[in-house]
Amino acid sequence: MTDAVVSIRDIHKKYGRFGRSVHALRGVSMDVPRGSIFGLLGPNGAGKSTLVKILITAVKRSGGSGTLLGEPIGKKETLAKVGYLPEHHNLPKHLTGRQVIEFFGAMTNMPKAARRKRADELLDLVRMRDWHDKKVGGYSKGMRQRIGIAQALVADPDLVILDEPTDGVDPSGRRDIRLMLQKMRDEGRTVFINSHLLGELEQVCDAVAIMHKGQVVSMGSIEQLTEGMLRYEIQVDRPEPMSLVSSLVGEPGTLRTGETIEATDNRLLVGTTEAAAIQPVLDAIRSGGGMITEVRTHRPSLEDLFMRAVEEDDSPGAARGKTGGQS
């Protein structure tokens, strides 16, 4: 096993009993490398929050095993080195921002002086210094989220688990949070993010796991997951560009040379990363009177990966548990 901060095997979770039970997790296994930003994504009800809650002991697993920071999951002492921001968190409204940070520091057994010093640092980090002595009840959603992140970081954790950290935060706040995540990684922390905001994750994550219906349907770095999915995108000046290259097409959707080809609006997508392979296509377009306006390589977005994984999983006879080679 590599240096995994989170390592779980065949985790199951069933809620309810008798005939009305719900199988929320169906054998989830994953390893989260130390010092990475790891994204857990999936549609609502995929089991992401259940998995996170199992890690922080709020939910008991029905089966499977795993370790957190090298210790068995469920060991309370390990949580001293874990910071957690729950989804829809409800920070104590009667406390000020500083008191919230110090309260959670005390809950991790930090001495008073250390709590105070750390709170000062974190208030600066999350840019809440001017609001530190105001009650949380009067904060905006974005401000509460900043204090929420600060409380997660108070004990200088090795692993930070953030459940929907940018939920309800405006674009500038999201950028700040993104920068904070990168800073955490730079400081050597492992960040485990649970989110459905794919664009956010794509910008910061080193690796992702896509969950659907209680299972991991795809996992690995974005490069690994998109391997073999890179394509050339050729934009021409007219619609239905496929007619310009019909002489090169053999089987429908395939060039005679074997590469896939498809057309959308005024674009042709050729399934290859070899520049030489698209030269005949470009020649055919020109000779057919078409004008090429743009040629670029196209990497699928996280959203594309996500939709593909979920749709494949929903299709009849879909295979489960594909990974992109994550160790």
Binding site: K76, T78, A80, M107, T108
Partner: protein, 387 residues
């Protein structure tokens, strides 16, 4: 561990201070003590501010000559302030203020953040419970302090024993708050937890009333039987005297010396022949005997039933037991000369003694066992639940 516990208690204190109800209750406590301080006593009787109240109070003459100001204030504290204010109004306000503590803790977004810290669930729940008791502790302490000052300054008698109200009222509140914690955990609703706790309290109150009534009836029947027994003995003595007189009259006529006493014990039939009321009186004693047996059975059954419930009334009663000299108060009232009224008073005192002198282990011990069981069940649920 100490850091976490302290943090949770400080948080509970801050939460209480942030609640308006906490300060309203505190203000009401101060007002009650101000009213308490307005009562005075002089040679004519009791006074309220400038108004003179009649000296005769429920058949007891209360003046500065029969009762010292210190005893007056202590009696008012244990007989009025504690049973009505501290054990009812303050406890209800306390429950209203703290009923939301557990439902708030276990709501989504809060509990996960706390459970993600290295703290055991059982310790978390018990510390939260202790935080709830902090409300009542602070309220009763402030109230007792003010009463202590009033008794000391107005009554010229320093009575540190009033601070016993703090542990006693907090103990009584803790029985109910444990129920509130369990119900809050099960229902996840503040309103439901509060209403159901008040319902449990009402059941305890009804059982207490039943206990008071059953003890009262039992003691009254025993006192009635004693009176009736004394009456029968008196009638029998008179009837025997009549028989002796009749015998001596006969002996006098026969020229024999008078007898000091009857030669043989007279039979019941002979006595009944001399006093026609005797058969009815004996029958009444037999009926009372039967009723005493039945009332005694009910009394024991209710007592057994009460054993498994928290003893709210008796717990509060401990304060009177430890702060007021019951005999001194009784001597103020005196004893009526009328046989029936005396029996009633004896029955009332016997009832008060029977309930008021119940063993401490039974009052506190069984109540704390109840509380421990309720909290244990709550801890079990809290430990096993997924959040």
């Amino acid at each position: 561990m100490i850091t976490q516990t302290t943090a949770l208690l400080v948080d509970a204190y801050r939460e209480l201070c942030a609640k308006k109800l906490f300060w309203i209750t505190m203000l009401l406590s101060v007002l009650v003590v101000v009213v308490f301080a307005m009562v005075g006593i002089n040679e004519k009787g009791m006074k309220f501010l400038v108004w003179q109240l009649p000296a005769d109070f429920n058949g007891v003459t209360i003046t500065s000559e029969t009762m010292s100001p210190g005893l007056l204030y202590r009696t008012m504290f244990s007989n009025l302030a504690v049973p009505f204010w501290l054990s009812w109004v303050a406890v209800i306000l306390g429950l209203v203020s703290t009923a939301g503590m557990i439902p708030d803790l276990i709501q989504g977004g809060t509990i996960e953040a706390v459970l993600s810290r290295p703290i055991g669930r059982v310790r978390l729940l018990l510390t939260k419970f202790a935080g709830g008791l902090l409300f009542m502790t602070l309220q009763v302490f402030v109230f007792s302090l003010l009463v202590f000052l009033v008794i000391g300054i107005r009554g010229k008698s320093w009575a540190p024993e009033v601070f016993l109200a703090v542990p006693i009222v907090v103990a009584m509140f803790s029985y109910l708050f444990a129920v509130c914690v369990l119900l809050g955990l099960i229902t996840r609703s503040t309103i439901a937890a509060l209403l159901l706790t008040l319902l449990v309290w009402m059941v305890v109150f009804i059982v207490n009333m039943g206990d008071g009534i059953s003890v009262g009836i039992h003691e009254q029947l025993k006192a009635d039987q004693r009176v009736e027994q004394a009456r029968v003995e008196r009638m029998e003595r008179n009837a025997a005297l009549l028989m002796l007189n009749e015998a001596n009259e006969q002996r006098q006529a026969d020229g024999l010396p008078e007898l000091e006493s009857l030669e043989s014990t007279p039979s019941a039939a002979d006595l009944d022949a001399r006093d026609v009321r005797l058969p009815a009186a004996r029958s009444r004693i037999a009926e009372l005997d039967e009723s005493i047996g039945l009332a005694g059975t009910w009394r024991r059954l209710i007592y057994l039933g009460k054993t498994v419930l928290p003893k709210t009334q008796e717990t509060i009663g401990l304060l009177e037991r430890w702060t007021v000299d019951r005999q001194a108060l009784r001597s103020l009232a005196g004893m009526p000369e009328d046989e029936d009224r005396r029996a009633d008073q004896e029955a009332a005192q016997a009832t008060q003694d029977a309930i008021g002198n119940r063993p401490l282990w039974w009052i506190l011990g069984t109540s704390f066992i109840f509380e421990a069981l309720v909290l244990g069940l709550a801890a079990l649920i809290f430990k096993r639940r997924d959040f």
